[in-house]
Symmetry: D3
Subunit: 334 residues, 6 copies
């Protein structure tokens, strides 16, 4: 991924003004200002689970814009695999300068780390077979690009939205939707039209379950596109029993028998680490997985921010250990 990633991560106006912050932080700033209190505070951020960390690039982009020069920030690398309770971020700065952003940076970490961690699970299960993130439709459009970016951080090899792909520094990838087939009235007509207008570097991957049996349709599209066909995508809906390992084996066998050994098979629809393990144990010859809701629907992983020093003195609320926590993996940002 390119070095200029932070370009796409500029904070929104609502974040900068605290409109989307918990109101008690707004009030805290008002009170401290009235009291003329602005102590230098060391805040540490951690979560309680092992995870693949994501969101650090976006947080850095936010903090660079709001913190004063004399502040000091330490953080882990994007994509770091973290231990439970490992400190991932430490901010030392006058408290009024960053109190307003706690809701935002915790939320960024929670959501993006949740997605990256789920993507990591799927990617590990599938390796070396690549996994494509297809789940934008499962999250609000204002965060879908972040979700796709986090999926790439976690280990996916491609994603489907232009904005998400740009954040991750890759090209968006996709097949063709059932809607095109339905509008064209026939799978063959649809893939031919796709082939006619799409640039040469866009892979031709045919959906083969719109109207007919998948094995039958695979042979028809292979015959229609010849060696321009990169692959077929099996996406049998749950109403038809989902994709089975036997279906993959059969499609492969029928394609091979008809001379289409070069056609790849992409499988999607409810893919999880368990489903991937099932396909692997059955030796189903799959060339790529498309994964949607397992990643996009992953539960956010809650992070906590704790004050551990005030004006250089160790302190902590009850239940936490006062003072800075050592973590040699932290790098100083500035």
């Amino acid at each position: 991924m390119s070095a200029d990633l932070s370009a796409g991560f500029a904070p929104s106006q609502a974040t900068l003004t605290g409109e989307n912050a918990d109101i008690y932080f707004v009030r805290t700033c008002d009170i401290l200002q009235a009291e003329q209190l602005n102590p230098v505070v060391s805040m540490e951020v951690f979560c309680r689970y092992p995870a693949v960390l994501a969101g650090m690039v976006e947080i850095r982009s936010l903090l660079e814009q709001v913190l004063p020069p004399e502040s000091e920030v330490w953080g882990l690398a994007e994509g770091a695999v973290i231990r439970p309770r490992e400190v991932v971020l430490r901010i030392t700065a006058p408290y009024q300068t960053f109190a307003l952003y706690e809701t935002a940076y915790l939320g960024i970490l929670a959501h993006e780390t949740g997605w990256a961690t789920a993507a990591g699970e799927v990617a590990r299960a599938a390796a070396p077979t690549p996994v494509l993130s297809f789940g934008a439709r499962h999250v609000h459009p204002d965060v879908s690009a972040r979700m796709e970016y986090a999926a790439m951080v976690g280990g996916c090899s491609g994603c489907a939205t232009p904005e998400g792909a740009r954040l991750a520094g890759v090209q968006a990838s996709g097949t063709l939707p059932h809607a095109l087939v339905l509008c064209m009235g026939d799978t063959i007509a649809a893939v031919k039209a796709f082939d006619r207008y799409m640039p040469a570097d866009v892979r031709r991957i045919a959906l083969v379950d719109t109207f007919k049996d998948e094995a039958e349709e695979s042979l028809r599209v292979a015959a229609a596109l010849g060696d321009k066909l990169w692959g077929v995508r099996l996406d049998t809906p749950s109403e038809r029993g989902r994709v089975t390992a036997e279906l993959v084996l059969e499609v492969r066998a029928r394609l091979d028998m008809a001379g289409y050994q070069y056609v790849h098979i992409v499988v999607s629809g409810g893919i999880t680490p368990e489903r991937i393990a099932y396909f692997k144990s059955a030796e189903a010859p799959i060339d790529a997985y498309g994964v949607g809701s397992y990643i996009a629907g992953a539960r956010p992983i809650d992070f906590t921010a704790d004050i551990k020093e005030i004006e250089g003195k160790p302190i902590a609320k009850r239940g936490r250990i006062p003072g800075i926590t050592q973590n040699p993996a932290l790098k100083r940002w500035w």
Copy 2:
């Protein structure tokens, strides 16, 4: 909630341009345009689970902006309790005019319906005790206001961010953070400062677990603020065994014995329907619940969009039943 809700739901640029759409919809529009095909299509949207529907106001705001006058749209009401496979939205329009927005409207429904449904579960469990949404820190800041709005649709009585509260037509509510207590060095000093500067209509709710035992601290803040104290908030962290029903009963008894019968008790920290049932069965005298990750971390509920008619002719992909699905609960939007 006010009638002008949609004001805050304007679609982002990325949504309007399709930057956050799955790329195959972008390509489909290109192909259909090249083929000069733009059939009138009826698209139906449904999900597979019972749920509390949210996102319809935001979707209407989007569709009003993009669909041509001759289109026809039917939808269910925001907050409707829906059955599995019930059609919640039907769009009939030339396909090129809305193909690009399928990722967005499915994502809006998935995320907001997920949050509203979880909020409904908590609110039903707690009724008649009110539930406040405190979970902004668990989601990305670009959707935190949507999450809070959806929590209100699902049944919450209040939420914590100014923007979320504005979408829901209420005032934001909150207590005070541990950070203020730590900065002031003492709970009593912190609640007195809060009381000094906050407008009279902001409730004084004291955090009582920062430095000392909750029961001891409750009595101290009650003594300090007198009848201006609206309530105390118990938020014992998991490191200290979380809030128990016995703790609530004890704090209530000690407050009552000292003459502070009017002080309310707010409980937060890992609240779920099961935890609420536990407090109820133990008759713990709780006046309000603060709920965070149960709502904010709710899994999105996936929605599916299916073409069911093209140019008035029933059609469907394999696995679906062709033709319009009757649903008398749908209202025509235009």
Copy 3:
């Protein structure tokens, strides 16, 4: 069923000679003869589970042939629903005259009652939808007709082998095998040939999963046979996810939309009471079930024979209660 059922139940030579009896009964007869002992014995037969009793007709046919006139036999009716430990058969006769047949009559009861009981479970689950027994291929051909007969006793509405149907007093029923479709090279050709040569009273039921998607093929065979088509049979193999309720609903909808409301739907493939409950709860419009291994593979239900009186004196082995057991439901055979 006709009154002359026992015609088909003549015992085999091996049964009459004791060739297939446990050898210790052969030896017991030899010893008693040598000892010139032949006491009149009352033997009672029961099992330990609730069940649908089958095999009584065959056993009566055997005992009529071997017992002397002075013997006395009491039995329950074929198809009786029995309680655990209920006596189903009592034989009082000189012991040498029937010791040799204990293995046979217990085995007849075990196997046939097992099949009838399983058929009863499926038939109760499916009622009022009829169930056809299709499981001959799961049992040895020398008992397949007995299995089909027992399935009819248990509640099936039809069965597939000529001999089984004759025992049950009905016509055999069936569809057409995948093999015919494969030999003819095409489903349409196969159903047309079937229609050409089969008598008018044989129902035309088309298999629709040999080469293509079931919904697509159903419409093709309906178009080919017109109103001569009685029904289609859905038998999706486990490799393709088995038949789902949604598939049935879709095939029904597509047939109806095309004007083939009169075409019935038969479902087979791994049908069990649980699967039937699933189809019912999903309101899948099924007109008949074909059931194979659930009935044919049912575990035999073990029966036990106990001597309870010898020469009119109550006796029993340890663990059993001596003397005749009262059961008013027993009818005297002779």
Copy 4:
């Protein structure tokens, strides 16, 4: 087992005439004949589970009688341990010559393989202690000899019916029934009579639970028969808590203390692999197991027959892979 095993496996008339075949095979033959179609077909047979294969000898006996000389048949050996989906039989012949026998050969394999596999499980669990098949009473007498034969294929060391023993090439074995003891009025009288009349090569094995405690009775029969007693059989019924490991240990100890170290102990009654493991872990000194319903009541293992080539061209129904499946373990029969 002798080389001439197939002698006892001649197919019945009902099998040869198709009376016990699924009627759709009868109809298929009629249709193909009317159409003058008789393609050379390659049919492959497999099952979906690991198993001990039995029934091949009987199937060979059937096919030898019905197939024309130009046909080609490949099969695995009787008793082969097979993998899931391994092809066990391949018939290449004009389809009309063998279509009628599919129900029969599948049923033979299902039933016999089910029995042999269960016997294999028990025998493996018990090894090196021998297992005797005592389950004829749990199956219909027309298949009890096949069951016993299959149990021997699977690993039993003896069986109880003369016909089953003859198929397996051994002598039938057995003890003496409770009925003989009851008729003689006393266990000692019964074993003495048994001893008086039975040939010297028949083992004297006494049942010791008819009237008295097993340990007491064991000592009495040992005293009565002296060194002619080969063993005692413990068969405590479930009403008395079944045989326990402690009972076996106690009987052994009491026999040894009284000088009957040579008397063997046979245990029966609900024996399963789990029960055998329990006896083993308790080091119960058992010399042989008698097993009935675990083997005789084993679920048939369903086999499937698929056409994979027609006139030399690979073909298959949907869900199967077209063309001959390689299996080097197959031997050519002719």
Copy 5:
């Protein structure tokens, strides 16, 4: 039970001197004395579970001996069914006068309430069939009489040790031990000797599993003692499969058939509420149960003592609610 029960409950020397008290109570008394502190304290005692209360008579006997006249004590009745956290005892007295006895009165309550509660469970399960406590051998002899007394409080109808029976105001009951049978060499000899020397009011109950089968032996002892036999006791050890419902039914039937309808059946050996439910559901005709380890091995039910007032002022440690707890069921002792 007689009014003079407390006679047998005099505290031991070790209890009165505090030798068996937790040493920190000894030290507390020393310190308070040195500090010349002896405040009047109200101590309340409760447990966290529903239970049958036992031990109050013994505690009253202790407190009467140690407390000064000006003290005030309230207590629940022996045998009361108590709710979780219900106060069962309240002592108001100068603290030095009773601090030393907290270990003792908590231990008395814990152990005796545990036994009484378990006895209550068994007695309720068995009602109206009586339950006899036979468990002295499972507890230390210095508390076996207390255990038997508590079992009677909980609902047993008889117990086996002279001292326990005296505490409970009944006659001890028992059968005869296996040892007597073994010493006499024969069950019949043993029961005859028992009959010869025991007073007429001692029930003749024969053990019938020492040497022979229970059913056989029951008939033998009935024949030997005639109508002097009150009953037989079935106590089959676990090595022989324990007593089963079928065994009881069979013994009953064989006794009845032989004219011994008047002989009762007592069952013992691992009796629990679940086992009693099993016998009931099988309608086993049992006249009394002998219960040992279920009662004697019951877990003590921990009680807690809390100071709730000092010199009339409400107080409590953290986690408890200060001040006297109302409980109208408490009666004032003095």
Copy 6:
């Protein structure tokens, strides 16, 4: 432990007179005397579970007092780890001399072995961290010293009652009770008074949860006592979530930060092997555990006594193996 242990184990009068024996042993003695039968009997004692044996010292003390010189006794060592069914004691003596004590010696073994075995589990789990037995309040005071002694046999490092400690040959240990703190009105006052009056060799261990948060209170007592403070005891009640590993870590950190590295941490309250494993896996720095009800409430482990020889002749009741059982670990007592 000292060699003179048996001094404290003298049997009670009730044990010597048989008052607390099962009455059938009393009657057996009467009958045998009347019959003038007093055979020399070998009695063996065993249990069915692996355990840590305790009670042998007390039994020896009893048997020494009652058995005649010509008797022979073999026993295992106190604290031996025994296998299921291992013989732990064998008495050979005229039966009338010891029949009366069977209830007593079985009860001693049951109760003491139960406690020792539970103590062994806790001690093994905690090793090398020491475990103190604090459970006297959970058992009747007449056995609390035996319980503490048995806990020491099982592996505890200390116990709390003077009598129990004397039996085990150690000094009693304890902290100070909540009652002292409540009477003194303040934790600091209480620990100071404790320090003032207690001998120097009594460890100063402060309870820190009476009025305030544990971490806060720990720092206060450390400041008050300085280096005379040996440790603090965390005993958070279940109403406050019990002690958690995080609390221990936090108290340790706060003590260390304040310079009190030498202060030990003792943890009590519901300690079990599972809880200890949890603390270990979280690396909670605990210096000692106080364990109460896990040991004191342990279920007695039932022992059985069997006659195995009478006058030198092997005998046994049904279900047991006649004759002496070899066990080389047995030592001859006399």
